[in-house]
Symmetry: C2
Subunit: 412 residues, 2 copies
């Protein structure tokens, strides 16, 4: 059950001209559930992505990177994406690479293109061989129901421990033309993206040239998927892909243009919404916390402190209990690794309540005020460092019994 | 309930000549429990300690450091230590410092010495004012039952969420003389010491000169309290104190001496035992894990990877579930921050079972073998990096429902 369930998914997800989606029940890990998704792209489409920095990055991530690199070399456009759940194809060595390539080859055969024009994605259990035959057997089934109006099914297909699908649509008017954006994401545990989240796919019908799209996807990720954490575990499979089909008249070819600014803002806002849905549906989550650290000397130190608070099991269990045991936040600030931090200049707010002032308990602070805020399902923790102008914000959730239950039972 | 309860506490804790201990029920936070401890030292005793690196270090830690510094200046020996539970006196600003000094002054008045000859320690809730009057009212009660044979009561007095007291005694023969060591420790949550643990006190009747003792306490901490983690939360109050009373004939005055080596080894071994007791009694712990990372290029990178595994909520819940979901360990290795790690050279063992070889699943690995080891209450995770000769070992525990329960209910 996500925080403030149901998640704010639009009643109707808008098709993006140039994209079709099909799904299959391939039985990758369990029967009778959608677990393979194919997205086909118009030949005019450009694609850019950001990927996990985990050194054990999964085989499909390695293949994706190689195929995107090949795109630069050969100019043959990406024709389709294929995503399976139930198995991450990570920690699988050379066999895993061969398996990911085999899936690309099978889909390329069906679509009459090169394997290098397919991008593969996997999510699920690590360290187990990908059941390639089952994935490939699902591909014709997925192609048989290809449709531009299939985004909701796509969002359902990529779920693992997610309790709800995550998707959104938006429009932005640029040069008098209405541009459409639709995206999906998944993820609920092993979430501390480092350049991207578990899986996110966002498409627009605008045309965007390749190098501009690469800039845009990084910008969007840095202000969305790279600002969330559930348990501090960076996945082996994190991938966030931005697709611009070019079906609209709009063509964005310059980063320093008003068109870029408008489209990038729309992409970033939808990415943020998709990223926050992941946190709201975090494994066992009952609270959604915004952590803002202000007045730092650098964004990096603000993020360090924000993540130190957001990862602390003691802070997270206190939020789960609605217990204003706020000294735990001070402790997490103190061990964040900002060695020259002068705590005597530090203020701590819980929503509008000033809890600590100049590094000590605010004399006017009443436990009842902290208690009132802690009862809410959405809470902002604000730290003012009193040493600069930098700011950083992250989003996270609490640590509950259900997190332990879900992760103790994950494979059973 | 600690792992493999009861903890291996000696039936009889050996008194250390030159140390007496007294305890009081002062009602610091809750009535009818021992919560104030006084340790008095012979005038010949030397004292050295290591303290938390948390920037929000508690008021008593700051006062301890100042008094140990003053010891160097004025030469007046430390005469007593005073420890309270129920309140950490951290995040309390200037008031907290005044409160810690007030306790020192009160005890100094009773012992007829200077306040600067007292070392204060506190542990408990952060961000709440220390109830000085109650602590001070307990001091005469504690002095009234001072006894050299009071170590077990002392270990009980300093408990917070600990389910069992932690203590040990050892002897070592040096130059034909039997030297005694006895120590106590406490801590079960907010445990990821950075120079020391929550609280540890170890005394020997050997004489050790001040600068030699300072070297010895760092060496012992680096191989014991600095190698454990429960939840990755570094406390504001971590302190580990080593006391050498000088009651024995042995006088250690040189670091490069056989006497130093023998005594330091005995101190380190007892420190390690006290530190491991903290992990075995970790909040909600059901498993005790030894994580060894070998063949690294530096001890630092081995520790980074070991802590990344030891802090991962996903790894810890898998151990709680006895589920050999070992890909989670690979993921934690991958995001440890060793950027040039070549995972194709990496092997992973669970006890004697080779799970992953050359970065991928060992073809001979059977899930049943992993399952067998995971059922044990004590498990070794061994990672071989294949890139150097450095080794590091840490000790940690699993993440269970009871961890969440204990920390959600801590103040209630």
């Amino acid at each position: 059950m996500a925080v403030n369930s149901p998640l704010p998914i639009a009643a109707h997800l808008t098709p993006v001209a140039g994209i079709e989606l099909g799904h299959a029940e391939a039985g990758v890990r369990k029967p009778n559930r959608k677990d393979v998704l194919v997205m086909t792209l118009a030949p005019t489409a450009t694609v850019a992505g950001v990927f996990t920095l985990n050194r054990f990055c999964a085989a499909p991530v390695q293949v994706c990177k190689a195929h995107l690199e090949g795109l630069h070399m050969a100019g043959a456009p990406i024709r389709a994406l294929v995503i399976n759940t139930g198995n991450a194809n990570a920690g699988t060595g050379e066999t895993g690479l061969a398996d990911a390539n085999a899936v690309c080859s099978a889909l390329a055969g069906l679509l009459d293109c090169e394997a290098a024009q397919i991008l593969p994605f996997s999510t699920g259990v690590i360290l187990e061989p990908l059941p390639v035959a089952r994935v490939n057997a699902g591909l014709p089934q997925a192609l048989a129901n290809l449709s531009a109006d299939n985004w909701y099914n796509a969002a359902e297909t990529i779920m693992t421990t997610d309790t709800q699908p995550k998707a959104g649509s938006a429009t932005v008017v640029i040069n008098g033309e209405t541009i459409t954006l639709t995206g999906i994401s998944k993820g609920a545990g092993m979430i501390k993206p480092n350049m991207a989240t578990m899986l996110g796919f966002l498409a627009t019908d605008a045309g965007v040239s390749q190098h501009v799209l690469e800039h845009m996807v990084k910008q969007a990720a840095d202000h969305s998927f790279n600002c969330i954490t559930i348990d501090g575990d960076t996945s082996t499979n994190d991938s966030f892909m931005l697709i611009a089909t070019g079906a609209a008249k709009l063509q964005v070819t310059e980063i320093d243009s008003p068109e870029y600014a408008l489209l990038a803002e729309a992409v970033t806002n939808l990415s943020r919404s998709l990223a926050q849905m992941i946190v709201r549906d975090g494994e066992g989550a009952t609270k959604f916390m915004t952590i803002t650290v202000e007045q730092g000397t650098s964004i990096e130190e603000c993020r360090k402190i924000a993540y130190s608070i957001g990862h602390s099991p003691l802070v997270k269990t206190a939020f789960f209990a609605s217990d204003p045991n706020l000294g735990r936040i001070l402790a997490a600030i103190g061990y964040a690794g900002v060695d020259d931090l002068d705590v005597s200049k530090l203020d701590l707010y819980l929503d509008d309540v000033l809890v600590a002032r100049n590094g000590g308990r605010n004399p006017a602070y009443q436990e009842a005020d902290g208690q009132r805020v802690m009862q809410q399902s959405e809470i902002t923790v604000r730290v003012r460092l009193g040493r600069g102008d930098a700011v950083a914000t992250i989003w996270t959730c609490d640590l509950s019994h259900d997190y332990v239950t879900i992760n103790a039972d994950y494979r059973s």
